[in-house]
Symmetry: C2
């Protein structure tokens, strides 16, 4: 059986080594702190909450936009070399379990990535090389969560 | 409804700030690299795989001891300031989802922590102050996973 990691690489087209190239340097330090991540998540969710595709926009309907932004940038900051803001407030990222309420299908992953690419494009506080690294991480992670979503919706005994 | 984090703190008796005191310093650097983590996980699983309590030992029966040791110390190294060995090999930790095959009950958490305390006691390459920080992290995390286990065994729609 393919592992989550193998599925993520195959489905996203991003090799594991490229996905985790975000760890080669400390992006939090090289980007200069919190602000670029806040900018990115604000740009991202401003798009998402105004998405013309109602099926995608509705996935986020039970969360406040401000909370979605904070949850996301605190995770990004923590994962990309900054202080562990997310864990201090909410505990382990536990990415698959925390996405369990949402229908993380391939279509949703693609729409998420579409908005994230455009959000990155309009975030001037992040340099082009970092954008490439981050987008590879996001692509791989999006499909990791699709794989996780499929796994957790199977019968409990089949893992 | 209590969050995972709130349940973890209440059930473990460890405040979030104490649980994530492991992030106040870089433990990987202060402990001097991989070896203390390898020592700890080896001591831990040597105990677990020889546990006289068959109900607990049997939880690990489908995994090779060597694999269990490597999975654990690579996660510890990554989480405590070292290189992201776990993610490079297996992807995101996704702690709750990866524990989904196992019955992470309160009894199992207590038994896990019992062995971990004894494993720490016999790991001379970790200093006493780091042991306290690590044990607080382990206690909080163990009950975070108990809370996650309860959450994921509920009906899919109730989250």
């Amino acid at each position: 059986m393919q592992s989550l990691q193998e599925k993520a690489s195959e489905w996203s087209g991003v090799a594991t080594s490229d996905a985790f190239a975000i760890d080669e340097t400390n992006l939090f330090e090289s980007l200069g702190g919190n602000q670029p991540f806040i900018d990115l998540s604000t740009n991202f969710y401003t798009r998402v909450y105004a998405d013309e595709e109602e099926w995608f926009r509705s996935i986020f309907a039970n969360s406040k936009k401000e909370d979605a932004i904070q949850n996301q940038y605190e995770f990004f900051i923590q994962r990309m070399g900054g202080p562990p803001l997310f864990s201090q407030r909410r505990g382990h990222p536990a990415l698959i379990a925390r996405h369990r309420p949402f229908p993380v299908t391939r279509e949703a992953a693609e729409r998420w990535l579409h908005h994230m690419q455009l959000a990155l494009d309009t975030t001037s506080t992040i340099d082009p090389d970092s954008k490439i690294k981050m987008m590879n991480f996001f692509k791989h992670t999006a499909y990791f969560l699709v794989a996780g979503n499929e796994m957790t919706r199977q019968a409990q005994s089949v893992v």
